[in-house]
């Protein structure tokens, strides 16, 4: 072999070894780098990091079994940027949880996606097996009631009622309306057995429900089917019983003992059916059922809590829009943050599944049997968050609602949300009471609750009571926390439309810069949001507080009246009586009067307090307006009529956010208080005139390259 050949061989060997070593080194280096990688977020807002609260929630999962987050559904319609940012958020959560949270994104539109989704549902159904069996047993009990009620209706109820009404008709004069109602019911009754049996049959189908071959029993749906029939039957029986009793009680005793006996028989059956209906309503869907139900109609994000002992982990299913695809255009910049907020809240709920019970207490005028729907928005919001909502109308029934059905073990937090009524209003009907009496009723009820250690959210409005040197009824609650409502004066602002002077009472509150301690959690959650507090009254400290309340510093959550043009108006009542639409056109609107009014804001309009309670700290949030929630409701109504502006929407949403944060804070579930929702200013391209935009486009596309070429020519000329 020649020297050259030897050299070639040697070089070939060395080159091969060096080349191979380089490749192996590069691969190893990359494997190591991906295992020990560090990410640096260069965005000014820390867009790609979890907030400290999210990190704390993720860390709390560690060591408690594995929680799973699965994004499941046809994700082809969701833009890639949203998916990427949510993937990133999920990865961050998984990393922060130290392996206690895992995630997956299953696109059923892609090969194998359907199988993976069904596999996940089957796994969830397996986890829920014991709970499903228990609920199935109860459902079958209610199905048996349906069957019995159907048979009873055919065999005894319908003939009995028919006989009684025939007798009533034969025997003399009867109240026409009641008889007509009873006869109408009698005509309806033959359809009941069919409906009841049909409900039982459909319920059976729900219990054997399957998705793509995977059996996922749906006891919740089965119960709903039966409740949808049992409820109306029970209501119809109430009306029938009432009609029969009216006929029976009519002068001349139209039906005599047959009617009374029939009414009594109906009452017994109604109670039986009512109980079955209540039982059906109390059956909640299992986690696997909820997940399957949501996935049937839309893509969803499933949050599956860790199984503890025999207890299957909580399963929550949210429509995918709640997490993914939250924004378009400028909103997309915040899509990641929104996904993080929702995921953090749901993970916190998995670790703390005790959802609060919210009692919405009102004492509004009796409006001829109509209910004042004040809390519809709030109710929907809380229902979507899994909280139970109970309405308590003190005017109808001053007895405190019984919560043992919702809270048998008594370990769920209960938050009482009270709106003090407008106490300047007179009674509207003979059954009604004047506003001042209703306010006192509310004060007495809430004061008693507060003394028992309940946590309350109190809305206090402008009041005529302090004018007569009486304490405001709300002070029975506020005083326990070292607070009082200066409700005799209203925060007003001077405004001008050209030369026309106006007085404004729609106050947008600023989050208090000094909010620390108890108030800071709520303050952080609404910072930057437009909280609208109409007819605001100042909340003040009134030391000494009873029972060691935390009153300072930091009880201020939000203030109003910073800057010129604001004052506290004492003669607000005539202005309030003017219809809202006409206030801007009043000839002589309220103006600052230095002898009676006060300047020198800002004034606190939302405050929070805390004091040592029974076992845990008792908390209070007070809002110096009894219209701040009605405002959110009215915007919702205006939206339906197409009258609300974007600003109104924002403010309505912000107000409900304040309500939600306050309720979670009062429930002691600080982790669920929305994290800093401060609206960050997203940089946008300013509106440009078309001509100017075209010039810019031409410069960027053609002008700059042409300049480069020109520069090249000049360079070559200069360098010869």
């Amino acid at each position: 072999m020649s020297t050259r050949s030897t050299g070639r061989l040697r070089f070939g060997l060395v080159a091969g070894v060096v080349g191979l070593a380089s490749i192996v080194s590069a691969v190893l280096l990359n494997v190591l780098a991906s295992s020990f990688s560090r990410r640096f977020d260069l965005t000014a807002t820390g867009e790609h990091q979890l907030s400290p609260r999210s990190r704390a929630i993720a860390s709390a999962l560690s060591g408690g079994g594995e929680a799973t987050i699965a994004v499941v559904g046809d994700l082809s319609g969701i833009d890639a940027a949203s998916k990427a940012s949510v993937r990133d958020v999920l990865e961050r959560f998984a990393a922060e949880s130290g392996g206690s949270a895992s995630w997956s994104m299953i696109d059923v539109g892609r090969p194998g996606g359907q199988e993976r989704a069904l596999g996940l549902l089957g796994e969830l159904a397996g986890r829920d097996a014991a709970v499903t069996r228990d609920r199935e047993r109860v459902v079958r009990g209610v199905m048996a009631v349906c069957e019995r009620a159907a048979a009873d209706a055919e065999e005894s109820l319908i003939p009995g009622v028919s006989r009684a009404l025939t007798l009533a008709g034969d025997r003399g004069v009867t109240p026409a309306r009641a008889l007509a109602e009873a006869e109408r019911m009698l005509l309806e009754m033959p359809s009941w057995p069919r409906q009841l049996r049909e409900a039982a049959r459909r319920a059976e189908g729900e219990l054997a429900r399957a998705e793509g071959g995977v059996v996922i029993p749906a006891p919740g749906a089965a119960a709903r089917v039966m409740a949808s029939v049992l409820g109306p039957v029970a209501s119809a029986l109430v009306r029938l019983e009432d009609s029969l009793r009216v006929i029976d009680a009519a002068p001349g005793g139209a039906g005599g003992s047959e009617l009374a006996a029939a009414a009594e028989a109906i009452r017994a059956r109604r109670e039986f059916i009512d109980a079955a209906s209540e039982t059906a309503l109390s059956i909640k869907p299992t986690g696997s059922e909820s997940a399957a139900e949501v996935l049937r109609v839309t893509a969803a994000v499933l949050f599956v809590g860790p199984t503890r002992g025999d207890e299957p982990g909580l399963v929550r299913a949210l429509p995918v829009e709640a997490v993914l695809g939250a924004g378009v255009g400028a909103g997309r910049a915040d899509a990641r943050r929104q996904a993080e907020v929702v995921i953090a809240r749901e993970l916190a709920r998995l670790t703390n599944p005790k959802t609060p019970i919210v009692v919405l207490a009102g004492c509004e005028p009796l409006l001829g049997g109509r209910r004042l729907r004040m809390y519809e928005n709030a109710k929907r919001r809380f229902a979507s968050l899994g909280a139970d909502v109970v309405e308590w109308d003190l005017m109808r029934d001053p007895t405190r609602p019984d919560l043992t059905g919702l809270n048998p073990s008594g370990d769920r937090p209960v938050v009482w949300v009270a709106r003090f009524p407008d106490n300047a209003l007179p009674a509207t009907s003979p059954d009604d009471r004047p506003g001042i009496e209703r306010a006192r009723m509310m004060g007495a009820a809430m004061g008693a609750l507060a003394r028992e250690g309940a946590s309350l959210l109190v809305s206090v409005g402008a009041s005529i009571v302090p004018i007569s040197k009486e304490p405001d009824p709300a002070d029975a609650v506020l005083g326990l926390f070292g607070l009082r409502a200066a409700s005799d004066r209203v925060v007003m602002r001077e405004d001008y439309d050209g030369p026309r002077r106006m007085a404004r009472v729609d106050v947008t509150a600023d989050v208090s810069a000094g909010a620390i301690g108890p108030a800071s959690a709520i303050a952080d959650s609404i910072r930057g949001l437009p909280i609208r507090i109409p007819w605001a009254v100042p909340i003040e400290g009134s030391a000494p507080a009873e029972g060691g309340a935390t009153i300072a510093p930091g009880w201020e959550v939000a203030t109003a009246g910073r800057g010129a043009g604001w004052w506290l108006e004492s003669r607000w009542r005539p202005f309030r009586q003017i219809p809202r639409a006409e206030r801007d056109f009043v000839k002589d609107p309220p103006a600052f009067n230095e002898n009676e009014d006060e300047r020198g804001g800002p004034w606190c309009v939302v405050a929070a307090g805390e004091r040592p309670g029974h076992g845990r700290a008792q908390r209070l949030v007070v809002v110096g307006s009894n219209e701040w929630l009605v405002f959110a409701e009215s915007v919702e109504e205006m939206r339906r009529q197409g009258q609300a502006s974007l600003e109104d929407f924002a403010a309505a949403g912000a107000n409900v956010q304040l309500l939600e944060s306050a309720v979670y804070w009062l429930a002691g579930q600080d982790d669920l208080v929305g994290q800093g929702a401060e609206a960050r200013a997203v940089a946008r391209v300013k509106p440009l005139e078309p001509g100017r935009l075209l010039i810019l486009q031409v410069i960027l596309i053609a002008g700059l390259p042409a300049c480069v070429l020109l520069l090249g020519v000049l360079y070559r000329v200069a360098t010869g």
Partner: protein, 245 residues
């Protein structure tokens, strides 16, 4: 080291001596301007160069081969490689010098797009977040450097510049689109997850996309730097092999 710098300096100067260098810069500015106007300069939309940088990989694809094609090919074609190889510079030194020269030219190529950022700042309210812009430019340099090293290797293998351009173009296209296309061919199921992971590991686009969002991940930096280093070493070996042909 001084030899490397001398080679690099000579390389940079040669780019500007020839029309092709200026045409490259103009071509890149044209493509970048087109991309900027269509993705980032829409009134009332977020003022960000995210989309611009996310497409950086594609933007550089036709331009970098034009820079890399002549790095060694030109020397091979003109025969000036022989004196260069007999100079005191080692094979690795020659390749590193050439690569460094190409990299400096790449920086010069990218620099004028700073006017795009300036325009965006001018027409935005408030000013856009500078973080993602900085990381985006870092991505342009890293991705460009990586492509350049691939082009350098190809340039070492052939004396035909056209062939070097075409091969480098398709190699970069393969790096950009290959993992996605191959990923679509992989059958579903857990058994093939390793293949999916490997493809995800070598994909350039997701890494560039991270930079465009303002995230600098050390693993991405290592990927581009080690990838570039690997191709430079392979180029040096390819050059050294000429001594033994």
């Amino acid at each position: 080291m001084s030899v490397i710098l001398t080679i690099a300096r000579r390389e940079v100067a040669s780019f500007f001596r020839l029309p092709v260098g200026w045409v490259c810069v103009a071509l890149f500015m044209f493509l970048a301007g087109l991309l900027m106007v269509t993705t980032s300069l829409t009134p009332d939309q977020p003022a960000s160069m995210r989309a611009f940088f996310a497409f950086a990989g594609w933007l550089l694809m036709p331009v970098v081969p034009a820079v890399s094609m002549r790095l060694i090919s030109e020397e091979l074609r003109s025969g000036t490689i022989e004196p260069l190889m007999t100079s005191p510079a080692s094979d690795l030194g020659i390749v590193v010098g050439k690569y460094l020269g190409g990299l400096i030219f790449l920086a010069v190529l990218i620099l004028p797009t700073a006017t795009h950022a300036a325009v965006l700042v001018w027409v935005s309210d408030p000013a856009p977040d500078p973080g993602p812009i900085v990381s985006g430019y870092l991505a342009l340099m890293l991705v460009g450097g990586f492509y350049l090293s691939v082009g350098l290797l190809i340039s070492t293998l052939t004396g035909n510049q056209t062939l070097a351009y075409v091969l480098a173009f398709f190699s970069i296209l393969g790096l950009l689109a290959g993992p996605g296309l191959l990923g679509a061919l992989i059958p579903p199921g857990e058994g093939w997850s390793w293949a999916r992971e490997v493809l995800a590991g070598v994909a350039v686009n997701p890494r560039a996309a991270d930079f465009s969002r303002g995230v600098v991940d050390t693993s991405h930096v290592v990927y581009f730097v080690s990838g570039s280093a690997l191709f430079v070493v392979l180029s040096a070996l390819a050059l050294a092999s000429r001594r033994w042909r």
